[in-house]
Symmetry: C2
Subunit: 368 residues, 2 copies
C-alpha cells in the first residue's frame, strides 16, 4: 500500500533502516584493520543476507563472504565468487543445493564430523565439483567443533585423502568471548594457545592448515592478537548493534541499523509502547549491562524494557521525555542479525531520505 | 531445490510441520467449549498467519478472526468476513491498508487512546467506511489499555459519538495470567471483578458494551469463569506448544506443531546439535519449569538447552539416547506464534505424509 516511499516519514512501521554512510564507514574501517594486520577478511553474510551488501563488502576488500545456510550460499553466489559455508551441510537437500551453485564459485565448507565430511565428499564426487574443507575445532564455546588436536588431525587427514575434497585448514568461532573489548586479555591469551596447539598438531601430522579462520565482532579489533589466525569472519560489524556498542567494539555513532517504530500507546504510566516488538527486534536479552531488548538511537538511555510480539515497552522511568501516540522513534536492537532475519527488506537511508531498498533475500529456507 | 517433497523424510530441515488431525481436533474442542458456554470464538490468526487455516477456524464455528497487523487483515480478508484488529492502527500507512479492505469485511478495531480513535475515525470518514471500535482496558498485564473505568467510559463515549464509528464494547488481554490452569483461581476472580467493574461503569454511563472480548490460550478452558466475557481470542491453541502443555492447558498429545530438524554435530560431550536454532524456534524461554527453548516431540524430556541462530543444543544429560549426525528429530518450541513467524511455509502432515503446504502469508509488513 505504501507506494514508493521517498523519506523516512513515509515508511510504514516497523521498518528496518540502514544509515548507508555509517555502513560504508564500518566496512572501510574493518577492511583497513584487516589489511594492516595481514588478515583475510571474510565477513559473515548471515547478518545482512543481502547480495548487494555482500558485493559492497567484496568491493571494500573482502576475500569472499561466509554463509550459514545453503540458501544464503545460493543468494550470495551471483554477487560473490568465494563462499565459506561455516556450517555442516547434512542431508540430501542441503547437499543438492550446494552442488548446484554456479561452477565459478569457489566453495569451502566448515565441518566437525566424519559423517558430514563423507556426505559432502560423496556429493562432490557425484556432482564432479571440487569442495574445500575446513575442520572446525571447539575453541571454548562448546557448541560444535572437534574436541582435541588429535581429533582435528584425524578429520584433516581424512579430508586430505578424499577425492574431490581440498583440505584447506581449520576454523573456530570464539563465541564464548563476549566481554568488553578492554577485558578480553586473558581469554585471548587462552584462545591463542588453543589455536597454536591445534595448528602445530596439524603441521606435525603433515596436514598444515593453509587457512586458520576465526574472529567474531566482539573480538574483531583484537584479532591480530590471536596467534596463527589467517582469516576473520565478523558478521555484525557491517551494521553494529546495541551489544557491540555496550562492549566497546564500536561507538554509538557507528551503529548503522535501527528499527523505525511508532508510539501506539501511552496508557500505562511510566512507559510508552511502540509497534516494534519481538517480531521486529527479536527477544535477545543484552549480554552486557543495561538490560532490555533494545535502546533508542537518539536516546540510548531509553531502553525497551519488555517485548511481546507486536509491542515494545519503552521504559520512561529515567527520562523526562514523554512521547505521544503517533511519535516515531528508532530502536537499536541488542542483536542485529536476528532482527534483520525478521525483516522482508531493509531501507538504506541518508538523513531522512530513502536511497536504497534491499529485500532480505537470504532469509528462509525455501526454493529461490 | 527440494522438488515436490511427498514425505517428512524428503523435507529440507529445519521445516515446520503441522499434524493436521491434531489441529482439527484442537479446533473442534475449542469450538465445542465456546458453544457450550455461549462464548463467541474469535481465534487470533497471528498464530498461524495462513488464510486457509482461518477459513478452517470459521468452518469449525469461529465468528471471525482476530489479527494483530493490517497486513494480517489484508491476508485474512479473502477467507474471513469478520475481522478484529486487536491493535491500534496508528499512522497513515496502516490506516490506508485497513480502509482498502474489501467492503464486505466487517472490521472492528481495538484501541486505547483518543489519538488512535480520532485517526481511525478520520480515515473511516474519508474512506466512507464504517468501523467498529472496542475500547481496550488494562486488566492487569500493564502493557496497553486504559487504566480506569472512568477512562474507558470517556473513550467509549467519544467512540459512540463519532461519525462512521460503531462503538461495540471493550477488550482486554489477560496476558499476565500464565500460571498452571489449576492454579488460576485467584487471578481469575480478580480478573472477573475488573471486567465487571468496567462493564458496569460503561452500562451506567449509557455506553453498555455489546462485546466484552478477552481470553487467551492459558486461560482458555476457564474463560466461562470470567464474568461478563462474551468473546474469546485464543491464538496458540490451534497448534499448542511446549508452554501450553507445561501449564496444563493441553496434553502433550494435543501439540500439533513441531520443527523438523537434523542432527548436525555430536562433537561436544553431553549434547547433540540440531539445525533448528533461534531462527527456527525463536529465543523465548519457558515461562514454566523445565527451562530451555523447546523439547523433542517424541522425547519431551530432551530439552533444547541453548540456541544460537542456526544451532539448537539438545541436552543429553538426562537420557541414554545418543543420536547420530544425520538423525532427524521434531522440536516443539516454547511459543509457537513466534516460531511460525520465522517460517516461509508450514507443511501439513498425516503420519509421515505431506498433505498440505501453506505459505505463511501474513508475516511481514510489505505490500501483498
Amino acid at each position: 500500500m505504501t507506494k514508493n516511499p521517498m523519506t523516512l516519514d513515509e515508511l510504514e512501521t516497523p521498518a528496518a533502516v540502514v544509515d548507508v554512510d555509517r555502513m560504508h564507514a564500518n566496512l572501510r574501517r574493518a577492511a583497513e584493520y584487516c589489511r594492516a594486520h595481514g588478515l583475510a577478511w571474510r565477513p559473515h553474510a548471515k547478518t545482512h543476507k543481502i547480495p548487494a551488501l555482500a558485493a559492497e563488502q567484496v568491493r571494500a576488500g573482502a576475500v569472499g563472504v561466509t554463509v550459514a545456510t545453503p540458501r544464503e550460499a545460493e543468494v550470495m553466489a551471483p554477487a560473490v565468487d568465494d563462499l565459506l559455508l561455516a556450517y555442516p551441510p547434512v542431508g540430501r537437500a542441503k547437499l543438492d543445493r550446494l552442488m548446484a551453485l554456479p561452477a565459478r564459485v569457489r566453495l569451502t565448507v566448515g565441518l566437525d564430523s566424519r559423517e558430514a565430511l563423507r556426505g559432502l565428499a560423496e556429493a562432490a564426487r557425484a556432482a564432479g565439483r571440487r569442495v574445500g574443507v575446513l575442520v572446525e575445532f571447539d575453541a571454548g564455546m562448546h557448541r560444535v567443533g572437534v574436541q582435541s588436536p588429535g581429533d582435528a588431525v584425524a578429520l584433516a587427514r581424512e579430508a586430505a585423502e578424499l577425492e574431490m575434497v581440498d583440505y584447506r585448514g581449520v576454523m573456530l568461532y570464539p563465541g564464548h568471548i563476549r566481554s568488553r573489548v578492554a577485558e578480553q586479555d586473558a581469554a585471548l591469551r587462552d584462545l591463542s594457545a588453543t589455536v597454536r596447539r591445534v595448528a602445530d598438531a596439524l603441521a606435525d601430522a603433515g596436514v598444515p592448515p593453509e587457512v586458520v579462520s576465526g574472529g567474531s565482532t566482539p573480538t574483531f579489533w583484537r584479532s591480530h592478537e590471536i596467534g596463527g589466525l589467517t582469516e576473520v569472519r565478523p558478521g555484525t560489524n557491517i551494521f553494529n548493534d546495541r551489544t557491540t556498542a555496550e562492549i566497546g567494539a564500536c561507538g554509538w555513532d557507528e551503529v548503522a541499523y535501527s528499527v523505525l517504530a511508532t508510539v501506539v500507546s501511552t496508557s500505562v504510566p511510566g512507559q510508552a509502547v511502540v509497534d516494534a516488538g519481538s517480531k521486529a527486534l527479536s527477544r535477545e536479552e543484552l549480554r552486557a549491562e543495561g538490560g532490555g531488548f533494545g535502546a533508542l538511537l537518539e536516546r540510548p538511555g531509553v531502553v525497551v524494557k519488555g517485548v511481546s510480539e507486536e509491542h515494545g515497552l519503552l521504559d520512561l522511568a529515567g527520562t523526562d521525555w514523554r512521547p505521544r501516540v503517533g511519535d516515531r522513534v528508532r530502536v537499536v536492537p541488542n542483536h542485529v542479525c536476528v532482527s534483520v532475519n525478521l525483516q522482508e527488506r531493509l531501507w538504506g537511508i541518508r538523513g531522512d531520505e530513502l536511497v536504497a531498498e534491499w529485500p532480505v533475500a537470504g532469509r528462509g529456507r525455501g526454493p529461490l
